[in-house]
C-alpha cells in the first residue's frame, strides 16, 4: 500500500463533497477498495509528458431564439413544484 492510501476520514470528506451519504460499512468497504484502485492509478506517474496538439475548432451557432421545452413539460418529472417553478429543499 502506498504512503498516501486513503483513510476513512478522506472517504467521508470526498463523500461530503459529492453529496453522497454513506453508512459506516460503506466507508470501510470504500476505504479498502480505494486503496487498491488508487495504488493502481499511481502507475500514471510513469507516463511521459506528451505534447497535446489537438486539432480542434469551436463550433458556434447564431445567438438566436429557438424553441425549447415548455414549462409544463419541464416540470412534469419534478417531485415538488410551486407556481410553475421547481421547489427544492430548504437552504438551511
Amino acid at each position: 500500500m502506498s504512503d498516501d492510501a486513503v483513510s476513512p476520514e478522506e472517504v467521508r470528506h470526498v463523500a461530503e463533497l459529492a453529496r453522497v451519504d454513506l453508512d459506516d460499512d460503506e466507508v470501510d468497504q470504500f476505504t479498502r477498495q480505494f486503496a487498491d484502485i488508487l495504488e493502481y492509478f499511481e502507475t500514471l506517474d510513469e507516463v511521459p509528458e506528451v505534447d497535446r496538439d489537438a486539432d480542434l475548432t469551436n463550433v458556434m451557432r447564431p445567438d438566436e431564439e429557438r424553441d425549447s421545452l415548455d414549462r409544463e413539460a419541464a416540470l412534469e418529472n419534478a417531485s415538488e413544484t410551486e407556481d410553475g417553478r421547481f421547489k427544492g429543499p430548504n437552504v438551511s
Partner: protein, 426 residues
C-alpha cells in the same frame, strides 16, 4: 431470464408508410437513450420513474426510418459495469452462454439481439460497453468514431469518451442501423459529417473483400489474455489470411497505461455529470427533513448503487485540490500518448486486430466483489475510446462453448473499412 432483457417492454411504432429503411425491423434501445413518453431509467433507482419529455436524436431517426422499437434494454447502472450486474433492475442471463453474464454495460441490447427479441439494437460505448456485450453474446457491435453519432438525449456518463452505436446479428445489419443514426446534429456540437461519397453507405461496404488488407496485431493486447481466447483469435486471423489479408505485429507501449487513464477520466467526468441528480427537477427524491445538503446526500445515497457511488467518489477525489495534477492531468497525457500510438500503428496497417475481451464471459455473480479486477478486463476496449477511434466486435468463434469476439480498430471515420473487413468473418 428473457424477461430481464428489457427494463420496460413497450412498443413504439415508427413513422411513415412502410418504405423507410428499417420499416421491417424491430429495435431494442438501451435504457440510457431518451424516449419521449416512455420511462428511461439508466438501470438506476434514481431514474426509476423518469419519463423524458423528448426523444434522443437517434430515436427520432429510428422513427423516421420506420423502425419499431420493442423495448428499453437493461444495462449496468448509468453504464458503469462490464457484466450488466450493477443494474437496479436485476442481471441478465447470456442467451449464447446460459449461466454467464451478457457483458456490459449494454448487456440487455446485446442479449435482445442474441435471443431474437429484436433484429437490431442500440447501445452506448464509453469504454467498451457495446463491444464487450457483443463479444460475450456472439453478436456484432460497432463503436463509432467520436462525433459520428449524435449524443443528444443520451444520459451523460463520460461525454468525451462515449458514442451511441448499433448491434446486429450480422455485420451488414449493424451497419444498416449505423446508416440510420449517423450524421451531424445541430443539438450535438461534437458531431461531424462523415466522409461518405455520394451513394455510399455503411451497409453496402459489407462485401467481405479483404484481399490485400493489412492487419496490425498489437502484441500488448494479447498479453495476459485467456489461452482459449488467444487461440480463437489466431484462428480468425488465419481465416482472414486465407481470404487474402496479411498481418504483422505492432507495438502500442502507451496502452499499458490505458486502463488507469480511462478510469481516471471516466470517473472524473461521471462525478461532474451525475451531480445533476439531486431529486429536485427529476428522479428519486428522499423523503427527509433537513437542509439542502443533507437532503441531496440522502437522495443520492438512496438513488445510486455501489458502483456508481464508487465512481462518483473516486472522480471527485481525482479532481480535488492537490490531486488534480497527479491523476487527471497525467491521465490526459496518457490519452494523448495513446492517440499518437494508434495514429502511428494505423499509418502502417489498414486495421488493428485484437481479442475484444481478454476473457470469455464471466459466470453470473463471479466478479462483483473486486472492482479493480473488473476494470482490468476492459484493457482491450478502453484505448479505442481514449483515441476517439471506431471499432467493431465480430464473433470469432468459441472457447469451451463460450463466445469470443474479435475487435478491429480503424482510423477516424473509417467505419466502412471496418465493416468490409469484419464482414469477411460473418
Amino acid at each position: 431470464m428473457a424477461e430481464d432483457i428489457f427494463i420496460t417492454e413497450e412498443t413504439i411504432e415508427g413513422d411513415g408508410n412502410g418504405d423507410g429503411p428499417l420499416a421491417d425491423a424491430t429495435v431494442a434501445v438501451k435504457d440510457n437513450i431518451s424516449t419521449e413518453g416512455v420511462r428511461t431509467t439508466c438501470g438506476s433507482r434514481m431514474l426509476e420513474d423518469y419519463v423524458p419529455p423528448y426523444d434522443a436524436t437517434v430515436v427520432s431517426r429510428l422513427k423516421d426510418a420506420g423502425a419499431t422499437i420493442v423495448g428499453k434494454a437493461n444495462m449496468d447502472e448509468f453504464g458503469m459495469g462490464s457484466t450488466n450486474e450493477t443494474s437496479y433492475f436485476g442481471s441478465v442471463d447470456n442467451p449464447a452462454a446460459p449461466g454467464h453474464v451478457p457483458g456490459g454495460s449494454s448487456g440487455g441490447s446485446a442479449a435482445a439481439v442474441a435471443a431474437g427479441e429484436a433484429d437490431v439494437a442500440l447501445g452506448s460505448d464509453t469504454g467498451g460497453s457495446i463491444r464487450c456485450p457483443a463479444a460475450f453474446c456472439g453478436v456484432v457491435g460497432i463503436k463509432p468514431t467520436y462525433g459520428l453519432v449524435s449524443r443528444y438525449g443520451l444520459v451523460a456518463y463520460g461525454n468525451s469518451l462515449e458514442q451511441i452505436g448499433p448491434f446486429g446479428e450480422t455485420v451488414e445489419d449493424a451497419a444498416a442501423l449505423l446508416d440510420v443514426i449517423a450524421g451531424p446534429d445541430d443539438r450535438d456540437a461534437t458531431t461531424r459529417e462523415a466522409p461518405l461519397e455520394d451513394g455510399e453507405s455503411y451497409a453496402d461496404a459489407a462485401t467481405g473483400d479483404v484481399d490485400g488488407l493489412q492487419i496490425g496485431v498489437p502484441t500488448e493486447l494479447l498479453e495476459g489474455a485467456d489461452e482459449g481466447v488467444v487461440e480463437t483469435f489466431w484462428d480468425a486471423i488465419a481465416d482472414l489470411e486465407a481470404q487474402g489479408a496479411e498481418y504483422h505485429e505492432v507495438s502500442l507501449p502507451s496502452v499499458e497505461h490505458a486502463v488507469e487513464a480511462y478510469y481516471v477520466i471516466a470517473m472524473s467526468e461521471a462525478s461532474s455529470n451525475l451531480a445533476r441528480f439531486d431529486g429536485v427537477r427529476y428522479g428519486h427524491s428522499a423523503d427527509t427533513e433537513g437542509n439542502w445538503n443533507e437532503t441531496f446526500a440522502q437522495t443520492r445515497k438512496e438513488g445510486f448503487g455501489d458502483e456508481v457511488k464508487r465512481r462518483i467518489l473516486l472522480g471527485t477525489y481525482a479532481l480535488s485540490a492537490g490531486y488534480h495534477d497527479k491523476y487527471y492531468k497525467k491521465a490526459q497525457d496518457a490519452r494523448a500518448w495513446v492517440k499518437q500510438d494508434f495514429d502511428e500503428a494505423l499509418s502502417e496497417a489498414d486495421v488493428l486486430a485484437s481479442p475484444t475481451m481478454p476473457v470469455p464471459p464471466f459466470e453470473l455473480g463471479e466478479s462483483l466483489e473486486d472492482p479493480l479486477q473488473m476494470y482490468l478486463a476492459d484493457a482491450n476496449t478502453v484505448p479505442v475510446n481514449l483515441a476517439d477511434l471506431p471499432a467493431i466486435s465480430v464473433p470469432a468463434g468459441e472457447t469451451d462453448g463460450l463466445p469470443v469476439g474479435l475487435q478491429l480498430v480503424g482510423p477516424a471515420f473509417g467505419e466502412r473499412r471496418l465493416v468490409r473487413a469484419a464482414s469477411a468473418l460473418d
